[in-house]
């Protein structure tokens, strides 16, 4: 049983490290993980799922705004991007945040094509991250079920 836990733990560690290395996550995610304690064992998962819901909603609303080729309400798009950027920055979703930065730039110059491209990218990135994190949380659960503790991962 211990070996299973240890294996799972190592797997978890490696996976998490790879997420950082591939740029999906940054230090803010570490911050987030620090906030999770006995009182709030699912804190990270909660925040992250809230974030993904947010993403989905915002992306939908923005794609509606950008749907029509003319009279795009860039202000609304901008506010959406701002939200998304803030959230992604808060959870440490690095790639999403980076796309948001260029998204915002496109928005500032009212470049609809660019906005659409960024929108697609954001959509892709957040879904990607969602899958990855889902895997991570699954691993976590497996460790907990196996009776192990979530290992501390030092990312540096």
């Amino acid at each position: 049983m211990n070996t299973v836990v240890a294996q799972l733990q190592r797997q978890f560690q490696d996976y998490l490290v790879s997420l950082y290395q591939q740029g999906f996550l940054d230090n803010q995610f570490t911050e987030l993980r620090k906030l999770q304690d006995e009182g709030t064992p699912d804190f990270v998962a909660e925040v992250v799922s809230l974030f993904f819901d947010d993403c989905s909603k915002l992306i939908n609303s923005m794609s509606r705004s950008l749907e029509r080729p003319e009279n795009v309400d860039f202000k609304q798009v901008d506010s959406g991007v701002h939200q998304l950027k803030g959230s992604s920055s808060s959870v440490g979703a690095r790639r999403v945040k980076n796309v948001c930065i260029s998204f915002k730039e496109c928005c500032d110059v009212q470049n609809r094509e660019g906005c659409l491209r960024c929108l697609q990218q954001v959509d892709y990135e957040y879904k990607m991250l969602k899958t990855k994190l889902q895997d991570l949380f699954n691993l976590e659960q497996q460790i907990v079920q196996a009776g192990g503790a979530i290992p501390q991962v030092n990312i540096n």
Partner: protein, 882 residues
């Protein structure tokens, strides 16, 4: 183009040496016509011959008697002789031709005779011309060959008849006649040429011509030249002058000396010069500037040569002057320019040198500053870590070591700061800060710090007059620095007795009790006195100079950089004050500095506490510092730290509202027993509550001095915010928990921030935008607001502005104007709220649109860059909530 310019530059139109308009009045000698441009032969030139003036009687005489004169004549004679020679040669040649002709004629005749002889066999010796008889013979042969074909007498009569001889005689006679005729013509011609020769031989005419030509030539050359020529006899009287000043007439010049003719500067000099030449007998040149009424200021280059007669006696001088005024002026101008140039160049190089030196100095200072800074940063780290370490659980020995470490670190830091400050002040970079601080506290801390490292049996005392305001505005860091410097200086030179600080208000005594008066200026006089070795009077002037100490002996004995007082003085002066010293040898010294401060309202120190407690080193302010008027410290070594704390029983606790009695700021006079153990127990007693146990431990250990001191130290340091905070939070009701408002629209951010707060042990209210924030601030008294900048409905900057406007005006009119729906239901409570400044910390995404400058400009106190981390949040809360 280029040459044109050069010509323009170099060749100036030369004005006539003498003015043009003077000449007419005199005997019109000066009507020189300018030569026509194309007239290059002498004949076509109209030469004014009247410019010369000469004593005609004496000139020929002169010419005869002097070398120069005779050489001229010799020349003329030689020329004439040459011409005569030439004529003679021509005549001779002519004569030669004639002679030859005659010879030919004779030869012919001879031939005829020969022929005749040959035919008649006449004797040969019939000479026709005696003198040429020898020739006859010589020619005979020749002529026989040459003249065979000459005319032969053709006789057609029969030979040796009468008719024949007759005919022959006739023809011969004819030939003779022709020959005679030819001879006669030749003689005639000879005579004629002799006659013409005679007519040519008159030399006077020729000489005159020549002379005239020479003179004409001279005139032609000289007519417009700015040249004066003359001859003066040995008394320097003019005998001859050429190109004299036009208005002078003959009688004005001839027979007179320069001095007699002209008046003004240079005349005498030229006369002396001429005389000198005459005496020395050597020709020479000199430049003389004349300043005469006649022609103004003119410079002449004068050439003078002595004139000798044939007997080699001096009879006078020739002189020639050329006007060079313009050239001289130009030359002088050039010289001046050159001089200016040289001066400018010298100045330039001097300046470059200075700049270089300044740059070097600046670089050196810069390097010093950089180095100091580079040392300071890691050192701060060391000291800071040590301080943090001191807040952890340590045993006594560890704590003691740590304290030594901290104080040593502090000393080094201080030294580095001194150097940095000095270079900053000197280079004018030093900026003063205006912060609120409590003078009493500063004095106490300075003394306390000094006592911590005191190794002598000295009493340190602080005495603050009642009227000194509780809270003033100034650069507390610098003031503290000055005090520390002066105190450590005083301690250094004091071996027994007291060292102290005395604070009193000067010139505006009425002011001190009036605490309601805001931002009024007050002058506080601070004496730092000691009972030390004193300073001799002659050493006082250089006391404040850099790297100077009262004497070399002192430097050796007491060490130190000699920078301290210099820095103090510069700092005091920078703050608009004055630093003076009075001293008596062996009795002590008093350094006095007077500085202006602004008085701040003292009733809001609950909010401000953090502002200045940061400033005063690592020692956490004791709550009682606010109003204490007297402190006394003794060396920790063997004696006890004693602070009178009999006054103000109310302590200030982290950010909680101050007790009204405390804010009244009445300073009570405190009686202090000198260094007794009683004091210690008393003071220990004051800590009360959770710290009570220390009391007993201290009392028991007080006999051991080192332990006592370490204990004291620990007491000083242990009272850090953390510890108190913890004890307080346990005691406090929940209402004492600081109230924090988070203004943020992003749910996820809220969730994260909230979680972080929770981990730090705080809760907070949430507002989702600026309008909600304003309403929240209106209803609740918050201790801190964390404000997102970019928000829908109303952004953080605007909300902050409106909150600040409320703090200033006491009403929400500006917010209502801005369209915020102020709920009036609870307005009563809002109105009662004090208008303290609410700390608002911005949360920015660090983009261009959310720059920190903008945050400050809109009234925010600080900012946290997003994403918010636990560490950042913690630091922020530590700064604003204590």
């Amino acid at each position: 183009m280029e040459t044109d310019q050069i010509e323009e530059m170099d060749v100036e139109v030369l004005s006539s040496m003498w003015p043009d308009d003077v000449g007419t009045q005199a005997d019109n000698q000066f009507n020189v016509e300018k030569p026509a441009g194309d007239s290059d032969t002498l004949k076509e030139v109209d030469i004014a011959e009247k410019r010369t003036m000469a004593d005609l009687k004496r000139l020929p005489e002169l010419l005869n008697t002097t070398d120069q004169g005779s050489s001229q004549l010799t020349n003329l004679v030689r020329q004439w002789e040459y011409m005569q020679d030439h004529a003679v040669r021509l005549l001779r040649e002519e004569l030669k031709i004639l002679t030859r002709q005659r010879e030919e004629a004779e030869a012919k005749e001879l031939k005829i005779i020969e022929e005749h002889n040959f035919e008649t066999e006449e004797p040969e010796n019939v000479p026709v011309l005696d003198e040429t008889s020898h020739l006859f013979r010589r020619f005979r042969q020749k002529k026989r060959d040459e003249l065979v074909d000459s005319k032969r007498v053709v006789i057609d009569e029969e030979f040796d008849t009468v008719a024949y001889w007759k005919q022959k005689a006739l023809s011969l006679e004819k030939m003779l006649e022709a020959s005679t005729e030819r001879e006669r013509r030749l003689i005639e011609k000879l005579n004629e040429s002799l006659k013409t020769m005679e007519s040519h031989s008159a030399p006077v005419e020729e000489l005159t011509q020549n002379l005239k030509r020479a003179e004409g030539f001279l005139h032609f050359i000289l007519q417009n030249a700015p040249i004066v020529m003359g001859h003066q006899d040995k008394d320097l009287r003019y005998l001859f002058i050429y190109n004299k000043f036009p208005s002078l007439r003959e009688q004005d010049i001839l027979g007179k000396t320069d001095v007699e003719i002209f008046h003004g500067g240079g005349v005498k000099e030229s006369e002396d010069f001429k005389r000198e030449v005459l005496e020395k007998g050597k020709a020479s040149k000199r430049e003389i500037t004349f300043e005469t009424e006649l022609f103004g200021s003119k410079t002449f280059l004068i050439y003078v040569e002595p004139v000798y007669n044939k007997a080699r006696e001096k009879i006078g001088i020739n002189y020639m002057g050329m006007e060079v005024t313009d050239q001289v002026r130009k030359r002088e101008k050039m010289a001046k320019l050159r001089e200016d140039n040289a001066v400018r160049k010298a100045m330039e190089s001097e300046l470059t040198k200075t700049i270089h030196i300044t740059e070097e100095t600046m670089r050196a200072k810069q390097m010093l500053a950089t180095m100091s800074h580079e040392i300071r940063s890691p050192l701060s780290g060391v000291v800071g870590m040590a301080e943090i370490l001191s807040t952890t659980k340590l045993d006594k020995e560890q704590r003691q070591l740590l304290n030594v470490m901290i104080s040593s670190g502090d000393l080094v830091l201080q030294l580095i700061n001194d150097i940095l400050d000095l270079s900053k002040v000197e280079s004018g970079v030093m900026k003063l800060e205006a912060t609120k601080f409590r003078p009493r506290e500063v004095v106490k801390h300075v003394l306390q710090t000094a006592a911590a490292s005191l190794k002598k049996d000295l009493t340190l005392e602080g005495n603050i007059a009642d009227e000194v305001p509780i809270l003033v505005v100034g650069d507390v860091l610098r003031i503290r620095q000055i005090l520390t410097n002066l105190i450590s200086n005083a301690i250094k030179f004091t071996h027994r007795g007291k060292v102290g600080i005395k604070l009193k208000v000067i010139s505006e005594p009425s002011f001190a009790s009036d605490k309601e008066q805001n931002e009024t200026s007050v002058w506080i006089c601070c004496d730092v006195y000691d009972t030390g070795i004193g300073i001799p009077e002659n050493a006082l002037p250089c006391l404040f100079k850099k790297y100077m100490q009262a004497s070399a002996d002192h430097a050796r004995k007491y060490g130190g950089t000699g920078l301290g007082l210099a820095i103090c003085k510069q700092l005091v002066e920078l703050m608009g004050g004055q630093l003076t010293v009075t001293s008596q040898v062996n009795l002590g010294s008093t350094f006095t500095f007077i500085l202006p401060y602004k008085v701040a309202t003292s009733d809001d120190h609950s909010d401000d506490q953090d502002e200045f407690s940061d400033m005063v080193d690592h020692h956490q302010p004791e709550p009682d510092d606010t109003t204490e008027g007297y402190f006394q410290f003794k060396a920790l070594l063997g004696s006890i730290y004693s602070t009178a704390m009999l006054t103000s029983p109310i302590k200030l606790i982290n950010g909680s509202v101050a007790d009204p009695s405390n804010s009244s700021g009445q300073s009570q006079t405190v009686q202090v027993e000198n260094g007794g153990y009683m004091d210690e127990s008393e003071s220990a007693h004051q800590y009360g509550n959770g710290n009570g146990h220390r009391c007993s431990s201290k009392e028991s250990e007080s006999c051991s001095s080192s332990q006592a001191s370490s204990e004291m130290e620990s007491e000083l340091t242990v009272s850090s915010p953390r510890e108190e905070e913890k004890t307080e939070t346990e005691v406090k009701e929940t209402s004492q928990q600081p109230k924090i408002l988070l203004v943020e629209d992003n749910k996820i951010n809220i969730m994260v921030a909230k979680s972080m707060m929770k981990q730090l042990g705080y809760t907070m209210d949430i507002a989702n935008n600026g309008v909600e924030a304003i309403n929240a601030v209106k209803d609740t008294s918050y201790d801190l607001v964390l404000m997102d900048v970019c928000m829908p409905v109303m952004d953080g900057l605007k909300a902050t502005r409106l909150i600040r406007s409320y703090e200033e005006s006491g009403n929400w009119d500006a917010a209502i104007e801005a369209g915020v729906d102020i709920k009036t239901s609870e307005s009563e409570q809002g109105c009662e709220r004090s208008t303290d400044r609410l700390p608002i910390v911005a949360m920015t995404a660090n983009t261009l649109a959310e720059s920190s400058e903008e945050c400050y400009a809109n009234g925010m106190d600080s900012f946290i860059s997003k994403p918010v981390t636990l560490q950042k949040l913690k630091e922020c809360l530590q700064q604003y909530l204590q």
